[in-house]
């Protein structure tokens, strides 16, 4: 039984605002195994982006970790990322754990070339030899199917969205990290470009063996690449399962709602329907389960306290819902069929 490469326990992050602290991330717990791909799915206000930047401690000044720990295992030792000091933290970031941001132009410095960005990144994280950086960069650009000569000379605005995303992926791999976190890697990309990036990520993962965390609101990227998934709602993890379990046998009403709210191109449409209502105010969280107002399965008991993650009827699968059995019953079969069809 190997040690997970990342172990997050009861992590909570607040933002300071004028109206009061925003509880953006609340008691998040999960493990990431070596070489595993974890997808964290959530919508606006779910806390997923706060969590992602919090994992490498890139949160803005107004954010504060109020509890929890992030344990990272580098193959030799385990240590708490939250207690790392500046120098060690800088080495952790990028050499151990790198992040690929959304490929908007704003992820780049617009006035320097791509090569200079690579050089800056390398130097910032301890690679002082310019030639080594250059060789490694060329190697990586080949790996992401870009022409190094053309790309290194270019400025960010001269590249297409897809090319920029590949560049960001290459940059993340500069120091051969054990974990790569990707924030909305395919959002705002065209279909064919998305496909290319997804295939690329699959390819790279097989070749280089890093563990991956995807943060997205897009279920399809989880369906493509994830081994395991978390769904987040109002700052909490509400379900934790393997990707098949979450898509075909979800046990939390929000996961069910989400699966049902996404139309598909292939197969039958099924009964697709939106989740009514809106997410709660993260400053004044209501008592009890935060999904209560939108939940078709709620009972009075749900208002008593925020439900903990409970083990459900399939292995390695938890849902933060006291009514998970009702959810299971409503879904009926355990077949590998989409939720929208089962509930049609």
């Amino acid at each position: 039984m190997t040690v997970p490469v990342l172990s997050v326990r009861e992590l909570s992050i607040d933002y300071r605002t004028r109206r009061g602290p925003v509880h953006a991330v609340r008691n998040v717990t999960f493990d990431l195994d070596q070489g595993e791909t974890l997808a964290i799915i959530g919508e606006s206000g779910s806390g997923k982006t706060t969590l992602a930047v919090g994992l490498i401690r890139l949160s803005p000044r107004s954010a504060r970790v109020t509890s929890g720990e992030i344990r990272y295992d580098d193959g030799k030792r385990t240590f708490d990322v939250l207690s790392l000091e500046a120098e060690r933290l800088r080495r952790f970031r990028w050499a151990d754990c790198a992040m690929v941001f959304q490929a908007a132009l704003s992820a780049f410095n617009p006035v320097i070339t791509i090569w200079e960005q690579f050089l800056d990144t390398g130097r910032a994280h301890g690679m002082s030899d310019k030639h080594k950086v250059h060789d490694r960069t060329r190697e990586l650009l080949d790996l992401v199917h870009l022409d190094p000569t053309r790309v290194l000379r270019a400025y960010p605005h001269e590249l297409s969205g897809g090319m920029r995303q590949r560049v960001l992926i290459a940059m993340a791999l500069l120091l051969d990290p054990r974990i790569v976190i990707l924030d909305e890697p395919t959002t705002a990309l065209d279909i064919l470009t998305q496909r290319a990036i997804i295939d690329l990520l699959r390819d790279l993962r097989a070749k280089l063996g890093f563990a991956t965390i995807f943060i997205s609101h897009d279920l399809s990227i989880a369906a493509e690449l994830a081994d395991r998934m978390l769904t987040m709602y109002a700052g909490r993890v509400v379900e934790r399962a393997s990707v098949d379990d979450l898509f075909y046998r979800p046990r939390h009403p929000y996961s069910v709602g989400l699966m049902r709210a996404v139309p598909r191109v292939s197969g039958a449409l099924g009964s697709v329907v939106s989740i009514p209502g809106s997410p709660p105010d993260l400053i004044r969280l209501p008592r009890g389960c935060s999904y209560y107002p939108r939940c078709p399965f709620h009972v009075d008991q749900c208002l008593e306290e925020d439900p903990p993650l409970l083990a459900v009827d399939t292995p390695d699968h938890e849902a933060a819902c006291i009514r998970w059995q009702a959810v299971a019953a409503a879904l009926g079969s355990d077949a590998e069929a989409p939720v929208a069809e089962k509930l049609a």
Binding site: L192, Q194, R195, L269
Partner: protein, 337 residues
Amino acid sequence: MSGPLIELDRVSRTYTTPAGTITAVDDVSLSLGESETICLVGESGCGKTTTGRMLAGLLRPSRGRLLFEGADVWEKKGNDLARFRRAVQLVHQDPYASLNPTRTVAQTLAPPLAKHKKAHGRAARAAMISLLERVGLTPPADFLLKYPHQLSGGQRQRVSIARALTVDPRVIVADEAVSMVDVSIRISLLDLLHNLATEFHVTTVLITHDLAVARYFARKGRIAVMYLGRVVELAETEPLVSDPAHPYSAALIAAIPEADPTITRTKKRVSLRGAEVPSLLNLPPGCAFHPRCPLAEPGLCDVVIPTLDDLPGGRSVACHVALRERQPAAELLGVAH
């Protein structure tokens, strides 16, 4: 009424830039009837937004005509033109830019009601309440005094739609109207737009890059697939989605990542011969798709621009090979469902 409600007749739109001429839309014809739902689908740069804006009368075609109720819109003047402007409304993509941030919902809905329905005071308020109910913002009275920054993205889009409805439009063009809205509420917005067509006889055109959204929205209507400024396929939704006639549509549908692990990991792909999309400054000769097309035939596809013609089964496609074989490209490529 006889004849289509609104029509684009061989419409093109070009821009001259210092770098050269960009043909954003090339020879597009589209004919829409009353109460119809149709989606314009394509990737970025395909011209779908430009086409949508020409349809809404916000952009003048460089060539070709826009016809509304049979008459050329750009020849209209005065009252006639004003009537057209009101009859076709655009709903924008960005909910954060489509409403005036210094105006409450009531202040946004009041001016068109005052000007066109001559409704003031209590009559106007009643009209606003009924509009807000129609777009699903309940309880309506609570929303009247809200500023846009107090509303969520989905709510703002509903207000935008309500604003468009103040003038009783006949056509609504929704330009990526759900792309910037949370995934879990897209369906309800699409249902609202769909309802406008079926219940209120408003022809609704949705522009989107998301084929799953297009399939859901236009499930009883049609989809037009665009590539580099041309319509490459126009067909009813289900046949198009299960058995696309154009190789580009087939490639798109095969490439879409789906929210279903079994389907998406086992989908059969269409390999294209190139990943780069040609620049609009330098369109390939003949069929714009031929450099990437797995079915391309040298001597034919790189010489003659294919026109949109009918295939058996009530669908149109602009592909020499598909038309000659009288078979959808999906079948020729082995990816049909």
